[in-house]
Symmetry: C2
Subunit: 345 residues, 2 copies
């Protein structure tokens, strides 16, 4: 089969490799029908050292079950499924607490002998706990939105959930990438009263407005903070959803959060240490949280929202390539010519 | 009247000063009948630069209202009252959200022209919102516990509340000072299943056991972390209440917190930057919060718990001095000869 590998910064290749096979009785083999490129795939695309071994890429997909291991009873060949970007058993105490990304039997695509999803087929460990079926006759028009439940929309949702967005709360979203826009949509779903989107790409912030942003602040740094404070009577917003991951975004976050409020991060931090003392978080009782989204915890509730037309998170996709042209998908996202790109094997 | 001032590290003096008077119509004058020394008073006792001007000291007290300003309608001379360590209007949006320490009309004793409470009398700004009355004929035996509602017990309670301690949760408390022990008692009140107290002073950890600690870990640093992980099957506890404020305590906190758990801090951070990235908090979806306790939010519910004998947080007091001997109270706490000292004007 064909699968995507990254050999170094900017070097994405499609190669012919052996089809995956069942290794554990808890595995399933899924034929990928729709995958995509994630903002997080761009980190190695920028910085990966070149080497002789390629890293398997991709972790978001919809597909058809082809084969299941002997311990998988709730899935059968032919089932149409969505996979969360992390696999998990969905039964351990961590999963039951809603933190599937901490499952001791869990892991990630493209690591530990599991392939990537920008491929024709993928082996899914812990298939019973991981894969979620959707109707085999689902209208094609819903597929992009269903694909976002693999990662991007539910990562935005995780931010809003951890940020404890409830009706009447005011929210700032930092970042107008696909995760930031998803966070806007999720905050709107959870009843946020006012949603300030900090972003400066007007085509993206326009989609943010369509998703529910009430205000757009293109300014950054101190100017951006001043603008959000001005919009909120000097107090800031109850919740800040930080979907960037760089230190300036963190600094903006504690600059615009209201005393007693929450900064919820889903942008993977590109720093380890940050201000958390009296002058930044402690003195004003600010909560800091977030992390890798336990998508599996939210996916079953989101599917009917998509199929019922309540949410349309698939609008973050604005381009599509074949698997053979996956390198072009990376290039389009890296150059910001596209927000998020579907890849069809 | 006599009042306590600190002139530099180790230099605590009682001086004769003018009685406070009503300045704003929202003020009350309270005759202090019972005050105490706070762990936070020991910070300047260690490090304050000597100078010609003394800082007024003390922020925890019970007393009798002597006079009220024209805008104070819910208090009258003769009322027995407890004061939170911070004053607040109790009506603004921040107070209504339960974050009285962020009240824009609020402030702290010993600053901005308001005296300290280790004194015969004190002016209380925003008296209607701040002071909480208790029965004038209250049994004397309850007074120490009622005094802890001014700060120490409800600071421990704030930690547990922000840490979202609920029945069945496991909790680690870091620090066996009066706030740490109060956090143990509060965690027990909120239904914690298992409470691991990290502290190495056995007289204090014994009181911690009486307050509800199920395990005591005297080891610190990596050894302490290993011990707590061993006690919890390698997973750590759902909640960590950090009542120290130094970096090693913070490092212990993220070492022993369970994935998806909460680190709630009430020890005033003696650092500004700390690890919060993928390797410490983000990768495991850890929440970090806490701050100065909005005692006023909790005090009314706690009074009947004290008067009903349900909680006895006053057991943290193990010594008493007169106001004239307040310097001795500081010395006893600084030398760890006493855990917490009552000061009677």
């Amino acid at each position: 089969m064909r699968a995507t590998f990254m050999y170094g910064a900017g070097d994405v290749r499609v190669e012919e490799v052996a089809d995956p096979t069942i290794v554990e009785p808890t595995d399933a083999i899924v034929r990928v029908t729709m995958a995509c490129v994630c903002g997080s795939d761009l980190h190695p695309y920028h910085s990966m050292s070149a080497g002789p071994t390629g890293s398997p890429m991709g972790h978001e997909f919809i597909g058809v079950v082809e084969e299941v291991g002997g311990a998988v009873s709730n899935l059968k060949p032919g089932d149409l499924v969505i996979s969360p970007f992390a696999y998990s058993d969905n039964t351990c105490p961590f999963c039951r607490e809603g933190f599937h990304t901490a499952c001791p039997h869990g892991g990630f695509y493209g690591a530990d002998g599991v392939g990537g999803a920008q491929a024709e087929r993928v082996r899914v460990p812990q298939a019973s706990g991981t894969l979620v079926t959707i109707p085999a006759d689902v209208d094609e028009k819903f597929l992009p939105s269903l694909l976002t439940l693999s990662d991007v929309y539910l990562t935005g949702y995780h931010a809003a959930h951890m940020g404890r967005v409830t009706p009447g709360k005011s929210v700032t979203v930092i970042g107008d990438g696909a995760v930031g826009l998803s966070a806007v949509l999720a905050a709107k779903q959870l009843g946020a009263d006012r949603i300030v989107l900090m972003g400066r790409h007007s085509d993206r912030t326009d989609l943010g407005r369509a998703f529910g942003a009430t205000d757009v602040v293109p300014e950054r740094g101190a100017d951006g903070v001043a603008k959000v404070l001005e919009l909120t009577g000097g107090d800031g917003t109850h919740v800040v959803l930080e979907a960037v991951g760089h230190m300036p975004a963190y600094e903006q976050a504690y600059g615009v959060v209201r005393s007693g409020g929450v900064i919820s991060r889903v942008g993977v931090p590109q720093y380890e240490k940050a201000p958390v003392g009296f002058g930044s978080l402690f003195g004003r009782n600010i909560t800091l949280n977030g992390g890798p989204a336990p998508v599996r915890a939210y996916i079953e509730a989101a599917i009917p929202q998509v199929l019922g037309g309540e949410i349309d998170p698939g609008r973050v996709f604005d381009a599509e390539t074949s698997l053979d042209d996956v390198a072009e998908a990376y290039r389009l996202m890296d150059s910001r010519e596209a927000l998020k790109v579907i890849v069809r094997p």
